[in-house]
Symmetry: C2
């Protein structure tokens, strides 16, 4: 089980650089776990078989012939074994079984399409770790953790499946993915169009990069998700930072913060107060991401519309200790919906199924997503985007330096004129929609907006509480998939 | 200056695997040079400036931060400095100044388009050698010699040029390339469509790979180029192998071969007779490649229609020493058109501007182009395609093993449905047209066939002797380029 650190926290699916940058040198690691967080254990799961493919560590050079076992999950109970389509989930930064069990849409439509379902784990996550326990020990072992290598893994794996599974040789393949997995699905179609006929990219912030999307955009969407419930809720959160700062400067104040928020550990110094604020900010962000219309257990077990539930505690003017108590009640919606928590641990923020260290490395190499806040158009404490500081922190942690612009060079940024057969779906409540493709680019590159949707809600299984716009989006997605498959 | 070896000979532009495989362990190197072969020195050249860009050695990992100076040539005398287009030559396996001076078409049309001309050298060739003199010493230093890294070089270089040359920021870029450079131009457009609006890929055998084009195809086109001149010419060449074998088994016979062919070195063993045959076969192939309609000096100084000139010596039935003398007269068209040769050196075959070692490595890694001959549908000695043997030879030379199918996975093989804005031009006399895209794939991926053209004839400068179909092809190319640029 990965050691969780706030300074490498993956907020929701994609790491929130804002908090990453702010607190990179502040926290010690903490191995304590207070709640059962592994949804695999809580959820009986779908019926699939687990396999391992002998995958090349390096696809772009010939000197290193090392391999690693890449895990993939396969479900053929719905498949037309004579050339039926393959629905291929391009795994993202975590345990593939978790994504498998949280991508119910693929399971829901598999029978209709007579599709073979494949969920491929991303290298350096879950069980698919090149160099095993030594993977994160040095830059050399981590050198192969890039999106390009991951896409090449998927390509090789698909070729292998098509050449070894009887009846699959002519099967058209559709890529599916959510969040970073959605970015990979879209990029996979762009870079390997001979391998996949199309891609459904759910909540894929491929525009959340330097020079394309402003650093303030993400936090503004978080704020809007709270503002939608109550302006006072936003005002209270915005006011909280200064209040916490005022308590944080004294031993007595920090002790009070610990007690009010039932923190498992004391806040021993003002630097730990910064960590506490990062954790709070990350919590608001996570809440916005998983603001689903029904009770769900993605990052945490939560009620329906959890932002609304939180804001119920923050919708009256408050100050001083009264506001602190309201804040605690609000975050308890996220951390203690089950009522089993005895204390709150600011060194962790959600499911253990995500590979925080891997994503931290990726965000320190290719995946630099500039984030900032100003406390005016958003509800967060003002924080500038400082790439130099960001880069220095990365170097301290990983002995590598990030490249700010490479990702746009490699995948084209917002230039999507030459792309085809991609659906970019985005829930507009989702903070990551700030970097999503929200406008259709052509008749083949289609944006689907889900006004009442949070993070890749459309990829979750159907639910009685699904809003109409979500149901409509799924119908549209199915029709587009059929269209692609009919053209093959 | 590179040491030339038959076992790593780049025949024309792209190495001829057939001969590569056949003779990999047979020859010693030979440093002797008998003719002035460097066209840079013979040709006054076009007017350009030379620059060097600090290029990353590894684009697909972050552990190695080494750089190397990538050479590029720049000519701005025709350019509209306010956003005029950039014509970018994606350099192939050799000295970029040689390609620059042999791609007159770009110079011919630069003024009409008010274009900036850029010729970018391919890594590990010419002066653009990562790790300098140690580059070819071990697999580690050579690890970054791949087409993917080369394309990323081009992308980074273009970004750099657009961000540093005043007036270039909005300039649309068109990729040009011939032979392997044409493959790169086409793949560059496929993989980096946000960087280049289109690609003119001259004589680019992107289909000359396993599972797409039969191994016999190449040699059949060579044979047809000779058959076009005289069936007897083909029959004589086809008969020559057995004749040479019969002489090659004895000391006396080998001595006679050396004397008849004016070889610089004796043929000491039957293995050297194999090398001699490889050299002969490579010569016929080179002749077919540069079978231009006017005197030219690409691989060698040659008369117009050199295959016709050769076949003049081979158009009568002959046998025994008479045939040997005819063969010598025929190859002297290639090796001694200037009449200055005192002997023929079977360890070399053409210009020194090509980087034989680099291409040999590439053909032992990604660029595996299966070749074979049967002596029936072609005029060569029968030789099977044996990948195991090929791979073993590669391992002996470079301590790496080739991947037969990776190139097709990476670039999609013949699946061009998703490509756009590519011209594939092919001269049908050119052996490499066997692996060329000869049929238009869509209204955006256009094949131009030049019946009387040899290897990327259309990329050469205009000449009074240009056949009508070539002139017509160039007009079509210019119109398509204008169309792409008008759409930007």
């Amino acid at each position: 089980m990965a050691i969780r650190k706030v300074f490498s926290l993956a907020v929701g699916i994609l790491v929130l650089c804002l908090f990453l940058c702010a607190s990179s040198s502040k926290l010690k690691s903490n191995k304590k776990w207070h709640f059962p967080r592994d949804t695999r254990k809580a959820f009986s799961g779908y019926n699939y078989k687990t396999y391992y493919f002998k995958q090349q560590v390096d696809h772009f050079g010939f000197a290193n012939v090392d391999t690693f076992p890449q895990r993939y999950l396969l479900a053929d109970q719905y498949w037309n074994h004579n050339g039926g389509p393959i629905f291929f989930y391009t795994g993202n930064e975590g345990d593939i079984s978790w994504f498998c069990n949280n991508t119910g849409f693929m399971w829901d439509i598999a029978a209709e399409f007579k599709a073979l379902l494949v969920f491929a784990e991303h290298r350096y996550y879950g069980e698919s770790i090149p160099y095993g326990p030594d993977a994160f020990m040095n830059p050399k072992n981590l050198n192969y953790l890039t999106s390009e290598q991951a896409l090449a893994d998927f390509a090789d794996l698909i070729n292998y499946l098509k050449s070894t599974i009887p009846g699959a040789a002519q099967s058209p393949v559709v890529a599916f993915g959510g969040s970073y997995g959605g970015m990979l699905a879209a990029w996979f179609r762009m870079k390997y169009p001979s391998i996949v006929v199309g891609a459904l990219a759910g909540s894929a912030p491929i525009l959340q990069f330097s020079g394309i999307t402003g650093c303030e955009a993400f936090n503004e969407v978080v704020t809007r998700a709270f503002e939608r419930e109550s302006v006072e809720c936003v005002n209270n959160i915005r006011a909280s930072w200064q209040l916490i700062n005022s308590y944080g400067i004294t031993d007595v104040g920090r002790k009070l913060l610990q007690e009010v928020f039932h923190l498992c550990q004391p806040l021993n110094a003002s630097s730990e107060v910064d960590t506490f604020k990062d954790w709070l900010a990350g919590t608001w962000t996570s809440l916005a991401m998983v603001n689903y219309p029904y009770p769900a257990n993605f990052l945490e077990p939560l009620p329906a519309w959890p932002v609304r539930e939180c804001c119920k505690y923050l919708s009256n003017p408050a100050e001083s200790q009264g506001l602190l108590l309201d804040l605690f009640a609000a975050i308890s919606v996220y951390y203690n919906y089950t009522g089993q928590a005895t204390c709150l641990d600011i060194s962790q923020q959600g499911t253990s199924s995500l590979g925080d260290m891997g994503w931290d490395y990726q965000s320190c190499t290719e995946m630099v997503m500039p984030m900032c806040s100003n406390g005016v158009s958003d509800m967060f404490e003002p924080m500038e985007w400082n790439f130099t500081q960001y880069s220095d922190n990365c170097y301290k942690k990983w002995q590598i330096k990030p490249l700010l612009d490479w990702i746009t060079t490699e995948y084209g940024g917002k230039s999507l004129e030459s792309a085809s057969n991609i659906i970019f779906s985005n829930g507009l409540l989702d903070p990551w929609s700030s970097g999503g493709v929200l406008q259709s680019q052509s008749r083949n590159v289609i944006a689907i907006r889900i006004p009442d949707g949070a993070h890749h809600l459309d990829l979750r299984s159907a639910n009685d509480q699904d809003p109409y716009d979500l149901q409509s989006a799924r119908v549209q997605e199915v029709n587009i998939l059929k269209n692609w498959l009919n053209q093959v």
